[in-house]
């Protein structure tokens, strides 16, 4: 009991020593960025690149409120408790003016709750969970990326156009998978009441037993398949499914499947014919999209991922929000973010006042093969604003924020 106390106090003293080193705060506007840089390196890396590109452009143009904008990146190891600790450090010691970041929804929810309690602004950039802005939504949290519900509704709209009657779903066995299936079911049955869901498969996240899943779906003989698996699970599912002929003569829909993060590793085994949400950066020709893609390729010598786009738009949104607020006061920034309009590569987006969700949309298209790699063809950008519930419904969905 003695030595540990000495060590503890020595370490505490060291920690306190560090506090003295905190930088001279007034020179830049600091944003605290918390992410799973190690745990989800494949996603967080491009995201960070996107932010850096955005920052470079913002600061070259004179920064925000006459000061350069600066992001402080911190790794939370993918743990919510850790993220809350870091958030506290960023806000108190580093003197960040607001928080942003995270990919994993539960970490986003933890920061959101912290932000509401301590009255800091949090812009959730990538987490998809619907509850972040709805049932657990609060005054201090805004979300940029189009949510699970929006993207599932876009796919449901496509699915309703076909004559498929029976559906099988396969989704990782956790909240995102469940939300995604529930949203798809809700949207599809609203459009086409006669559809029937004949089987629901719930593989454990990143532990899929693909052969067994394929057999179980085949056994139900569905007309169409709705897939929510991603990453390594998706690769295994597609490979087993293709080998065993599961997708022959069937419609298939894949949430996020077309995003470069997931499509690129599949290379020439990309699931041709699937209707998916994604990001066809290689095909974009309109001015604003092209400008971003070109700048990104020039800087990093590779194509942007969806994370890069979200990162870039995060930097843009924050710059626009602070500029509109005219100060870094939290209340002023919140007021500014409500109804904030931002010109982004994908067009003008609005942070809705009623639920703090941005209207960023998604690209929906069909997977095809081109030069041995999966690409999206016949794609269309769908504006997120068209796939959000009505204002009355949103009010009901957002009890906590009232």
């Amino acid at each position: 009991m003695k030595i540990q106390q000495l060590i503890t106090s020595a370490l505490v003293a060291a920690a306190i020593g560090l506090t003295g080193m905190s930088a001279n705060a007034a020179d830049t506007i600091k944003i605290g960025e918390i992410n799973h840089y190690k745990r989800m390196a494949a996603f967080a890396g491009p995201y960070k690149n996107g932010i850096e590109l955005g920052l470079q452009e913002i600061n070259d143009a004179g920064g925000v409120l006459g000061k350069p904008l600066e992001f402080i990146y911190r790794d939370d190891q993918g743990k919510p408790g850790e993220a809350v600790k870091i958030a506290e450090e960023l806000m108190t010691r580093e003197e960040a003016v607001m928080l942003t970041g995270t990919i994993l929804s539960h970490v986003g929810l933890a920061i959101s709750s912290y932000a509401a309690e301590k009255k800091h602004l949090y812009l959730a950039s990538e987490p998809l969970a619907d509850s972040l802005v709805w049932e657990k939504g609060n005054e201090y949290t805004f979300r940029l990326r189009s949510s699970t519900y929006m993207q599932a509704a876009m796919l449901a709209e496509e699915a309703a156009k076909t004559d498929a009657k029976t559906y099988a779903t396969i989704a990782p066995n956790y909240a995102y998978g469940k939300d995604a299936v529930a949203a798809f079911k809700k949207a599809l049955t609203a459009l086409k009441p006669e559809v029937e869901f004949v089987t629901e498969q719930w593989p454990a996240l990143f532990k899929i037993d693909a052969g067994a899943e394929v057999q179980a779906i085949e056994r139900a003989k569905p007309d169409a398949i709705y897939n929510v698996t991603f990453g390594g699970d998706l690769a295994k599912f597609v490979r087993e499914g293709t080998t065993r002929g599961l997708f022959e003569g069937r419609h298939a829909y894949g949430l996020l499947t077309g995003e470069p993060e997931y499509l690129e590793p599949l290379a020439d085994e990309a699931p041709v014919g699937w209707v998916v949400t994604g990001y066809p950066w290689y095909d974009l020709t309109d001015e604003s999209n092209k400008a971003f893609v070109d700048a990104y390729q020039a800087k990093y010598e590779e194509g942007p991922k969806i994370g890069s786009l979200v990162g870039y738009m995060t930097a843009q949104s924050i710059a626009a929000g602070i500029t509109k607020a005219g100060s870094t006061d939290t209340d002023a920034m919140i007021a500014a973010f409500k109804g904030l309009e931002v010109d982004t590569p994908v067009g003008k987006i609005t942070f809705r006042g009623q639920d703090h969700q941005s209207t960023m949309g998604a690209f929906v298209g069909t997977v095809a093969l081109k030069d041995g790699a999966g690409v999206l063809v016949d794609w269309k950008y769908k504006d997120g604003a068209d796939y959000l519930p009505s204002d009355e419904e949103v009010k009901k969905l957002r009890p906590a924020a009232e």
Partner: protein
């Protein structure tokens, strides 16, 4: 019928990689008694190396050559790990090597990221085996059939090696009694290295051979870990046929689970493990672990005694410094220190049963997370005032430990550890799956303390009072008659029984008490973070505590606290840098090698040597491992070593 056959075939094919990896783990454990956490990392390396080789070597021959070469390459890596990291720490207390392997995991994770990049890679298909054959009209991939055919040959080869060769005889002998093998003149060090090579090779082969069914990614090391431990335990630690039967059992059951009970994917294997261990406590083919059979390694623990006056003053000064922190420290330093205190309390509660009770629990997070969830659920659903929810959390966690402890108590050693892990996983999946009630992995949010505590400094003091209070309580109990009974039950169950101690009941009570204290730390945690998620119940959380105990020194009372504080502060500092896992892993390995008695144990020794601290009892200091002390022994043979037999 056709579907049934096809499903069985799928299960058998899935069993192939699982068996390969698990058999390696089983062999390593059987001979060296090392619980090799890094085995999943070997599997991951096998996959990545196999993938890289397949890019270079063409055709069918190239494919299979890549698989074999990947296995051998990983075997060599295994040898390097064994020689550099594990060999220096064989003399350390049992399970200490587990910390070293944890360091290896961290290092390999970052090295793999550096070498192969962050993106997942899709494994190439096996040339010549790309299509399917129809068996009873059901499509079966050719590669599945190849896997089904190969596995029995590997099993046979291993069996032949173990049962019919001289090497095998030595391995079996070492599995039974490695001291005896050493005494008979066999070079144990090279035997261990050889077994490590074989085990790592098998893991590498497993990783490479599954490539056509999946690929390689940076999460696969942890993702397979639980499954292979389950297989090894169900089969019986050290048994190869057991590993095969268990791999097939788990894989085939999983296939049917997927079809007929799709929600079961998270828990199925843990349910199977729990059931098997309840019926056959040593797995299907395992044999009973006899306590002390493998010899007491390291020096025997010194009897603990109440702190002297000097120490008490030191502790009081330390606590005073902590209490003054809000005066001179920043608001963040309070948050950080509160986090550290909470974690130390959690680790100390595990140390109580592990160090004093000799009960290794791999599932202690169940009570930490359990306490946090009890408080969070009370607040969320019953709007319970924070103070009451806070007090009920340890009660709830203690109750969970009471039930689980009762179910686990008949097992010992690693089997006990695995059963606690199984129950912790069951609790985790219950919380994870039951979204309507527990919020699933979206957790429970907005669990903040009452008004009077709801800012940094008051909550810091609150944490200080209950955290330090909890630690002092644990220490106090250790010195109470109950603590003596607990240590007696650990050191010699039979003699303890003879003196009238009901050892099982004492251990059960200790388990419950430790669970309750873990619940207290969980409650402190949830109100400091404002939210709780199933991650707090995960295996990783249990292992965090386990590792700091060994890092701090399992045979000292302060080990958990020293280890916990050091690791938490180190992590807080290191995660600011890009390759922090590599650095942290190397630091852990370094500490493990330099300080095999843990930080606290080594510091104490150092202090004694340079005379800051008095050797508590000079007689006891001589009761050490005779080998270690041989020199001292001859020099001072006037002081007779009274306990040659450890």
């Amino acid at each position: 019928m056709g579907l049934f056959v096809a499903q069985v075939l799928t299960g058998l094919a899935n069993a192939a990689a699982l068996f390969l990896v698990a058999s390696g783990l089983s062999l390593i454990f059987g001979v060296t008694r090392i619980v090799n956490f890094a085995h999943g990392s070997f599997y991951m390396l096998g996959a990545f190396i196999g993938y890289s080789l397949m890019q270079v070597l063409p055709g069918m021959f190239g494919f299979w050559a890549s698989v074999v070469l990947a296995g051998l390459a990983v075997g060599v890596i295994g040898v390097i790990v064994e020689i550099c990291v594990l060999r220096p720490v064989y003399k350390a207390p049992e399970l200490f090597q587990l910390v070293a392997t944890f360091g290896v995991i961290l290092v390999i994770q970052d090295l793999a990221l550096l070498t192969w990049g962050a993106d997942d890679v899709l494994g190439p298909r096996a040339p010549g085996l790309k299509g399917i054959v129809r068996i009873m009209d059901e499509p079966v991939p050719k590669y599945d059939l190849a896997l089904i055919a190969i596995t029995p040959f590997i099993l046979f080869g291993l069996w032949y090696l173990i049962a019919r060769t001289r090497v095998g005889i030595l391995v079996r002998a070492a599995t039974q009694d490695r001291e005896m093998v050493g005494a008979l003149g066999v070079n144990q060090a090279w035997l261990f290295t050889g077994v490590f090579f074989l085990g790592a090779t098998l893991a590498g082969l497993g990783g490479a051979i599954q490539l056509p069914k999946g690929g390689a990614d940076l999460l696969m090391d942890f993702n397979i870990l639980a499954a292979i431990f389950v297989v090894v335990v169900i089969g019986g630690m050290g048994s190869l046929p057991g590993a095969y039967v268990a791999a097939v059992l788990i894989s085939v059951l999983n296939v049917f689970g997927v079809t007929y009970l799709p929600q079961s994917t998270l828990v199925l294997m843990f349910v199977v493990m729990a059931v098997v261990l309840m019926i056959k406590p040593y797995g299907l083919f395992g044999r009973e672990e006899v306590a002390g059979e493998h010899g007491q390694v390291g020096e025997p623990e010194r009897p603990i005694k109440p702190a002297g006056i000097k120490v008490r003053v030191l502790v009081a000064v330390g606590i005073l410094l902590l209490a003054l922190l809000p005066v001179f420290g920043s608001s963040f330093s309070q948050v950080l220190t509160a986090d550290v205190i909470i974690f130390c309390l959690f680790a100390a509660s595990l140390h109580f049963i592990l160090g004093l009770g000799g009960l290794v629990s791999f599932g202690h997070a169940a009570y930490f997370g359990g306490g946090a969830y009890v408080a969070a659920l009370l607040v969320s659903y019953l709007q319970t005032p924070m103070e009451i929810a806070f007090l009920l959390a340890p009660v709830g966690a203690g109750f969970a430990a009471f039930i689980i402890g009762w179910l686990c108590m008949r097992l010992t050693g690693v089997y006990f550890a695995m059963l606690t892990l199984a129950f912790a996983q069951l609790l985790w999946s219950l919380v994870y799956q039951w979204g309507e009630f527990t919020g699933g992995d979206d957790g429970l949010v907005d669990i903040w303390p009452s008004e009077w505590l709801n800012s940094t400094t008051p909550y810091y003091y609150f944490t200080l009072v209950f955290g330090i209070g909890g630690i002092l309580l644990l220490r106090h109990v250790a010195h109470s008659p109950f603590g003596y009974a607990l240590r007696a039950s650990r050191d010699s169950a039979r003699q303890a029984e003879a003196t009238g101690i009901n050892t099982k009941r004492v251990q059960w009570l200790a388990f419950t008490f430790a669970g309750a204290v873990a619940g207290l730390s969980g409650a402190l945690f949830v109100f400091s973070k404002g939210s709780v998620f199933p991650t707090e119940l995960e295996v990783a959380r249990s292992f965090d505590a386990l590792i700091v105990i060994f890092l701090g020194g399992v045979k000292t009372l302060s080990g958990a606290i020293v280890g916990g504080a050091s690791l938490e502060y180190a992590k807080d500092f290191l995660t600011r840098f890009e390759y922090w896992r590599l650095t942290l892993g190397l630091i852990i390995i370094f500490v493990v090698i330099l300080a095999p008695e843990g930080i606290s144990g080594t510091l104490r020794k150092l202090a004694e040597r340079i005379g800051i601290m008095k050797d508590p009892d000079s007689n006891h200091s001589k009761i050490r491992n005779p080998a270690v002390n041989a020199k001292a022994h001859t020099r001072e043979n006037t002081r007779e070593n009274t306990r040659e037999d450890p």
